[in-house]
Symmetry: C2
Subunit: 287 residues, 2 copies
């Protein structure tokens, strides 16, 4: 099989596959790159994971994920920051193990409001503070932190960073090689400012990763699992992808799907369907 | 019973009550104003509804709702615009029938993407065009059209107007007496730009109505029914209400809740609970 050379399969799309399976079905589908998740990597151990990745011949596109640092000062916050430093180190190791063209990008999901809190402004400030604490470590490791704005329906319980513009405002305090943003169509497609903010992200050198999946309604009961194969929903991948391409972004493009039906399907079939969906919905807009 | 003199009960909060019941429980709870919905008004007929409203002694705060005009050119669009003109006329009649201090505000929900469409930009342009067609009729009737941005989770199927800033950009083409915006905490609380956009809305004279209800997770299976009594969720009513008050907004403040449990409750109890929740969560921030 062949697949678009820009496509990367985000491992969450085959959530129930272990690392070996994820690597195998990705390569078997002709996909050249993969984005990994911390849990399956740590299940085999980082060194083993790195060797498996190297043996697969795949590029490494992102590591998922760091973040969850909206907690106020205290032990839990210290532990979260330490865990983020480990995630940075993992990212560097995996990036070095991946095939040429691999990138060292750690995706950051900010986290929601702390239990019982209504202080959204304060939680957002703590995200900025946490990134400030992590940035030196990331720079030393050669890793780019990618702040991912999540759809506003997750603002209270998953990510207080809700728009690309807001993510860029946070990133602006830092070197673009160290802090960038993740542009995920599912999270930003609705934003009236999205095309302008993609252009801004490009001109500021901040697009650390571009991810695609689709939106459709009705939403499932668990709105975390509302992501679909590109082309199955209402997102206009043409305008968004062309806007990203226009910035000069020329690296891997991940498909990351959280959906109960996709997770229940055989990983090999999911990888093939991902390649097909990407070819139909996204490839036509790539140079 | 007494209630905050600024509180208005939006009729959708007692969805299964007929007009007579809605008016009665509102007055019985000591609430001085009500926002009506077209369906229960038209169930008794406009003239009868106006007389019932007058007899109730309540102020009339908004009429809900017009809009749903993202359709492309054709018969369905013409019919939608005609229906909006009727809604404007109803608003004028009801406003005249309400107690002194009533306002003539028609809330507009833009509508989602037409079936099979991915053209969000085009749908948004059609909202602007439709308002342009309705504005002369609204001006003649003395009615303000209130563009309501809806939470982005409704962008595909309910309302392509997703932020207060976007609503203000559309309104900017028109006289502020004719086209304003609805500020509903549920829809805008997550927006990193919300406080600035409320100030902008005030300085542009565009706040046609301020509505309050709360957000919490997990969302229910039908995300349309995710609205809670003020104080039950995570919204900071202090900062939002103070921002609205700072603009000089001095009219009624509606509570509009869509929730299966609230709708299943006795209307009289819902009206009382609304008054209590408003007094606890919103009144402390009113002058």
């Amino acid at each position: 099989m062949s697949a678009d050379p820009r496509l990367s399969l985000n491992q969450a799309t085959v959530k129930h596959a272990d690392l070996a399976t994820a690597l195998r079905v990705t390569a078997d589908a002709g996909i050249q790159a993969i984005g990994l998740w911390r849990e399956p990597v740590n299940e085999v151990g980082l060194d083993v994971a790195a060797r498996m990745l190297a043996d697969s011949g795949l590029r490494f596109s992102t590591h998922c994920r760091g973040g969850f640092f909206t907690l106020p000062e205290g032990q839990a916050r210290v532990a979260a920051l330490d865990d983020n430093r480990r995630a940075i180190d993992e990212t560097a190791v995996l990036s070095a193990a991946g095939a040429p063209g691999s990138t060292a990008v750690l995706v950051l999901v900010a986290g929601g409001l702390p239990e019982g809190s209504r202080d959204l402004v304060g939680a957002r400030e703590r995200v900025r503070d946490a990134i400030g604490e992590l940035a030196p470590h990331a720079r030393d490791a050669g890793v780019t932190l990618a702040i991912e704005p999540l759809h506003p329906m997750y603002a209270s319980d998953r990510a207080v960073v809700s728009t690309l513009g807001q993510a860029l405002d946070i990133a602006a305090d830092f070197d673009a090689a160290v802090v960038g943003v993740a542009v995920d169509t599912f999270h930003v497609w609705w934003d009236p400012q999205v095309l302008g903010q993609i252009a801004r992200a490009g001109s500021e050198g901040r697009i650390a990763t571009y991810q695609v999946c689709d939106w459709k309604t009705p939403l499932p009961e668990d709105v975390l699992l509302a992501r679909h194969y590109p082309g199955e929903g209402v997102i206009d991948f043409g305008s968004l992808t062309e806007a990203v391409v226009a910035t000069g972004y020329d690296r891997d493009i991940e498909v990351e799907i959280f959906h109960a039906d996709v997770w229940a399907d055989a990983p090999a079939r999911v990888a093939r369907r991902t390649a097909e969906a990407f070819a139909a919905a996204v490839s036509p807009f790539l140079p």
